[in-house]
């Protein structure tokens, strides 16, 4: 998930990973990588069938500083965009050719009011 200003500058980024984490040879605490060393599940964050997984993100839309001894939070942008993408990434990096695949994308335009006290 990313939050961007209108000119495309990313000011917030976060991600969640959904996958069964296989256990290496079924022993210890290490994740197994290839099928040849995977046996069992260490932890499972995959999306379970017929269930809803809910994620909540808090986006600070400010830069923090001290002004005259007081905490100040200066707004980054009054108008900005939030993009939520769901990617399939079976191995490697998202940038690797022929690897990752975008499944879902939702864009929301948000505004914070100007003025007032």
């Amino acid at each position: 998930m990313t939050a961007k200003t209108k000119d495309g500058k990313v000011f917030f980024k976060d991600q969640r990973i959904y996958m069964p984490i296989p256990l290496q040879f079924g022993i210890g605490d290490k994740m197994g990588r290839g099928p040849y060393e995977k046996s069992g599940i260490l932890r499972d964050t995959s999306l379970p069938p017929l269930r809803t997984v809910t994620e909540k993100f808090y986006i600070p839309v400010y830069n923090e500083s001290m002004k005259e001894g007081k905490l100040a939070r200066d707004i980054i942008a009054n108008d900005f965009t939030v993009e939520v993408e769901l990617w399939y990434l079976p191995y490697g990096k998202k940038e690797d050719e022929g690897n990752s695949q975008l499944w879902q994308k939702v864009t929301k335009n948000l505004s914070i009011e100007k003025g007032g006290k």
Binding site: P35, G40, P49, G98
Partner: protein, 304 residues
């Protein structure tokens, strides 16, 4: 005379073990990739089942030890299995790719090419040579690897019967489907109904449950059938593999996995709002985002 008696006894023992399988069928093992490919060739099915053949030819089943056509990911993983696994394990008997035999490749081929068990070690060596020679999908090595696959007769013949004590071994002269009858093929003149053909367990034979404990060196690849049984069904799910991957997807025998099915399997709902939180002296501009992901599939996403 004593020698002849001994020879007779030896022949009595050896002949059934080497020539006949457990069911009394003559077992001729393939010596080359081409021989094994011919034993399980789907080409003759194409004449009458052209549409199904075309669908299948686009599927990963059609290149089951090579993987996606563009990248050959499965072939690369089998090679990694040799390099990072077999060669590294002290009791595998493999110090060099030249040592790889059928029993070694079966830790992958149990599902990626179950008929490999009907081949001699020379076929294992030929596969290994092609695995190491393959660099680009257009290579001859890549083409050779794609001669071997999960074709028609793997699901509709070899693996068509799951419980063999209850229903008997698959009839070598029959193809299994949804009805009994004659079948216009010299190699498979009979058509038989398999009780499994429309059931998830048919796919579950390979799209697995977790570690393959039947192997001396258990591997774990797909865990879909485990998730189907222990997560999807307990949630009240009633559909099976074929209903989603063949019918709802309208892909028929071009059965696909995550790349084709993923977008239709997961619903994503996003709610977002921006606001200003205030205390005595500081205003805090912020936004909150809630993402709901609902997995409609019959198994966890992803699996493994």
């Amino acid at each position: 005379m004593r020698f002849l008696k001994l020879l007779f006894v030896v022949l009595l023992v050896l002949v059934p073990l080497s020539v006949f399988g457990a069911q009394g069928d003559v077992m001729k093992k393939a010596k080359t990739i081409d021989e094994l490919a011919k034993m399980y060739d789907s080409g003759s099915c194409k004449d009458c089942h052209a549409e199904i053949y075309t669908e299948w030819s686009k599927s990963l089943h059609a290149r089951s030890i090579f993987g996606p056509a563009e990248v050959g990911r499965t072939a690369a993983t089998i090679k990694t299995t040799i390099e990072n696994g077999l060669k590294d394990w002290p009791s595998s008997g493999v110090k060099d790719p030249k040592d790889v035999g059928i029993k070694h490749l079966m830790i992958c081929a149990k599902c990626h090419l179950p008929q490999l068990i009907e081949a001699e070690d020379s076929v294992a060596q030929e596969i290994v040579k092609n695995l190491y020679a393959f660099k680009e999908p257009e290579d001859q090595a890549a083409q050779n690897l794609q001669k071997l696959n999960i074709g028609c007769t793997v699901c509709h013949q070899r693996n068509a019967i799951v419980h063999k004590w209850k229903f008997g071994n698959p009839d070598k002269g029959a193809v299994y489907g949804s009805k009994d009858g004659e079948h216009a093929s010299p190699d498979f003149p009979k058509m038989k109904k398999s009780p499994y053909m429309k059931e998830a367990i048919l796919c579950g034979q390979c799209h697995g449950q977790g570690p393959n404990f039947d192997l001396d060196e258990p591997t774990q690849c797909a865990t879909l059938y485990g998730s189907y049984n222990f997560a999807y069904r307990p949630e009240g799910g009633t559909e099976n593999c074929q209903e989603c991957h063949m019918k709802k997807s309208k892909l028929g025998h071009n059965m696909q996995s995550y790349r084709a099915m993923g977008p239709m399997a997961v619903d994503m709902k996003v709610e977002a709002m921006a606001y200003q939180w205030r205390d005595v002296v500081t205003t805090t501009p912020a936004a909150s985002v809630q993402v709901d992901l609902f997995n409609k599939a019959g198994h966890a996403i992803p699996d493994g």
